[in-house]
Symmetry: C2
Subunit: 363 residues, 2 copies
């Protein structure tokens, strides 16, 4: 196959679900949560199986670009595509498509995340290669995740008829995109079967998504055409600065995927995928000790605690737990969070409270 | 009555039950736990009702004396009696008795604690005055505390026959001293009635306890005789330094009270006494908020927590609790303790662990 396959890493997000460790200045992908390297670095590393560094694009923003570049010296500065302002995932993907339309119009692009965990990288590689074949045939491919429980924090894709068999994987027609369900609905979908979680990973020809933008998001397409035409030109910055702010913020799911006729889903299993979307998710991806505790602290003493996560940045600081159960403790120096493991989703209420009270320094 | 009544405050103790706030360098009595003033200052203040500053003696050690003097500028330096080394409560009380034998042989001394809470100070005053009358009659008087629950952290005194009626209070013969009981035994004593907690508060003539030392602790008495004789003499320091280290460490309970024939107990009630002996005891003496929380922290945000104690010294540090219940959180900067409220007594295990691991800096 020609060397026309590109990874597009979406790395501009904020996210507060791992607050107080993830902050406006240091979002999740910049944190060494799972390993000594950051989630972004881990994402880059697993992509080496499929993509050369020249074929890895990172869509991010001005604020984060410098630190991401520090973390990825193997990538050239021009591979970082900077959004002047956040305009949703459709525009972010559009920016990468515009780059590829200008530089390699026959490109197939794999839109991937910077802040998810993938335990089985060999399996991930196989999915990427199978999806590429489908994308070469003109499909808009998305990697779904086979549900393992009745999650309410993900969107779902209902699987339709089988479309194709590639490298032993079956791809299905995406029948319907469903937004994050209520608990009862999630239970029903899990029981019925025939659904996949929407992982936000997409594989398609740059030219195909371009067509879809033209069809379903014509204003975005128009802006992207101008941006793509100006790429590497003297007036690129001016064009980008002019066009970008006028783009309406929209997600790729709502803007394209739910409208498009030909979306193929490959439901991925055995990939050990995890969105690391909450403190409690770390219990799923990291190895707990004999008491079920996850101790991410240099100095810790415990008596009879269970299912406790301790994350402390203070190296000289001694954390002591006695008889604590099902609790998340995160100590960043300026903030000490103590949160019931079952209530991790309520961190958004904390963020709201901090905003209400004007305590920006803790965001 | 002649002005022969003295308060002897025992303020040399260490104690780790309020660790990590109470430390070797800052034991409980030096902490502003209940109010803006320290427990020691609060103790001094309530004694003003009965004693002039000249009649308040503080028994402590070299390490703590300077800081206690700072906290009590109204006391003269010579009113601080310094133990060269800790030798138990019998010797500490003996040192005060030796001072009084030398300076005011007709003295009545009230041995009192520096680190307990007494909510009803007017009632405390009445007990002190009633006990003085009994002491003037030659009794060894102890203030007992009427048990309100089956406590296992206190010694008990079994009440015998009524001895006297003073100011409306009944004093009983102390039938038997019992050490800290197991839970079942404590339940039995509470159900049977006729017991008082041993508060460690004693009122007697200095000359009477001197007799008791002579009878039951002759070696201590001999050393104290020499110390008393040398008081205010040029060789006092030499005598003290020579005699003191040879004293065998012993408690007043074991050394005298359990042996003495004539011990009178006044069981005190309505004094709102609390030994502030654990973090959970603070819930009894301080006012909790509507959720049962005790927030002793400058900056705190909460969502749905109950029966939580938060103590944080860090003024810029934001403490956030989400769905936490029955928990004690103490943050001293170098240590973060998170302890189930029911497990507060296990702090001694933490102290042992720290010692085992050679982590002296946290003690």
């Amino acid at each position: 196959m020609p060397n026309n396959y590109y990874a597009v890493i979406m790395a501009g997000g904020g996210g507060t679900r791992l607050w107080p460790l993830s902050r406006q200045a240091t979002p999740k992908q910049m944190l060494p949560l799972i390993a000594d390297s950051t989630l972004f670095q881990t994402a880059l590393k697993r992509l080496q199986r499929v993509f050369s560094p020249e074929h890895v694009l990172v869509v991010t923003n001005q604020q984060q670009a410098a630190r991401l570049q520090e973390q990825a010296p193997e990538l050239k500065p021009e591979n970082f595509l900077l959004e002047p302002q956040p305009r949703g995932t459709a525009a972010a993907i559009g920016l990468a498509a515009a780059y590829l339309q200008a530089h390699d119009p026959g490109a197939v692009m794999a839109v991937l995340t910077a802040d998810h965990y993938i335990g089985n990288e060999a399996e991930f590689e196989r999915y990427l290669l199978a999806a590429r074949q489908l994308a070469e045939q003109g499909h808009l491919v998305t990697l779904g995740i086979e549900p393992s429980y009745a999650a309410t924090q993900f969107g779902y894709i209902q699987l339709g008829a089988a479309l194709a068999e590639v490298d032993g994987y079956t791809a299905y027609k995406a029948q319907r995109f469903k937004e994050k369900p209520a608990a009862a609905e999630a239970e029903t979908m899990l029981a019925e079967g025939g659904y996949a979680w929407n992982s936000g990973m997409f594989i398609w020809q740059a030219a195909r998504i371009w067509q879809e933008f033209q069809r379903h998001m014509p204003e975005l397409h128009e802006a992207l055409e101008k941006i793509s035409a100006a790429w590497d030109q003297a007036d690129f910055a001016t064009v980008l600065a002019h066009e970008w702010p006028r783009i309406a913020a929209q997600t790729i799911d709502y803007g394209v995927m739910e409208q498009a006729a030909d979306v193929a889903v490959i439901p991925a299993r055995d990939m050990a995928w995890n969105d690391v979307g909450s403190w409690s998710s770390l219990f799923e991806v990291l190895e707990v000790d004999a008491s079920g505790n996850l101790i991410l602290s240099e100095r810790h003493l415990d008596i009879d605690s269970r299912n406790v996560l301790i994350h402390s940045n203070g190296q000289e600081r001694m954390v002591v737990t006695v008889g604590v159960e099902n609790m998340v403790v995160v100590d960043t120096g300026d903030v000490l969070l103590i949160c019931s493991k079952e209530r991790a989703q309520d961190l958004r209420k904390v963020i709201e409270l901090l905003k209400e009270k004007g305590l920006q320094q803790y965001l």
